[in-house]
Symmetry: C2
Subunit: 210 residues, 2 copies
Amino acid sequence: MKTLKIPEATIIRLSVYSRYLTEIDRKGIVTISSGDIADGVGVSPAQVRKDLAYFGEFGTRGVGYNVKDLHRHILKILGLSSDWSVALVGLGNLGLALTTYKGFRERGFVITSIFDNDPKKIGTVLDGVEVMPIDKLVEVVGKNKAQIGIITAPSAVAQDIADSLVKSGVKAILNFAPMVLNVPPEVELRNVDLAVNLEVLTFNVASQRY
Amino acid sequence: MKTLKIPEATIIRLSVYSRYLTEIDRKGIVTISSGDIADGVGVSPAQVRKDLAYFGEFGTRGVGYNVKDLHRHILKILGLSSDWSVALVGLGNLGLALTTYKGFRERGFVITSIFDNDPKKIGTVLDGVEVMPIDKLVEVVGKNKAQIGIITAPSAVAQDIADSLVKSGVKAILNFAPMVLNVPPEVELRNVDLAVNLEVLTFNVASQRY
């Protein structure tokens, strides 16, 4: 985990705020208060103001925030002003689920390359993208200028895949394989463990018991 | 989002620490310092001590923590002292990926019921669990005493499924459908948006540019 001045929880909330602002903007609402945002996403108004204050002054006291400006600014902070080209490696059930996940495309994450080593999958076309063998990864990812790699392959091959992704020039890797990967410090790495989500729930359920 | 005294980021780190302690315990190591844990998972030693301090005093100054005791204690805090019975609703690619996800079983989450409305899927058996139609949900979940429901169904039917899960008596719902669900306050709800993970990465990549 990299030490950042901005807490990760703030980044995650910014992501939540921006989804809410998309919705509000679609409704044609022009200005919004921190209290409205807070109500809409279920955090305190003070938290909204604190999160936004990391990035300078946005709102006008007593008037609130201009929805479009705030939305655009948050997207810029999150690095979402333009699309990202994504390579996905490992077309098991999870890989398949992610290639068809609408939430990625909506936020500007476009899967431009897909890799798997199963001969039955190689050559098939998903959403306009042809599945390629993993030994073509460095070549294809480089050609497609993918900036992010998603690893949904088994643990046994995950480090080799990470090495190839790094070699191909990606800036960030999202890893679903349940293992610790080594990548150079200039490459951002994030591990997703789906069980953690269940543990936040069971912590809350267990706390209620006391 | 429920206001908790313990920050969610702390819960998530406890989950990470406990995985590391599983590994350390397997190696036969008896005591561990906060510095060792910090190195192992990539946070600062002060953060480890602060996180553990929420739950009272564990370690002995200059000696460190007993690995087994600390591990047992963290699992208890996370509500993982015993198994949880889980019902999964929606057997698309993501649902399939989760039913075969080893990380759940390892942490004590046992999928005991699976539901889908596709006639081709109903009656098939996955890991010993027969896929049932969604209209049997209340009956089957009640009978299997599932405490957690996972929704991997499309948004259009997610609220109806949440209502049925609540009626069947689950204590917590993990929702992968990209929509806001309404559940009574006594039921813990967590929404998973897989794109958020990519946005934490793009925030970090974008920050490096400045």
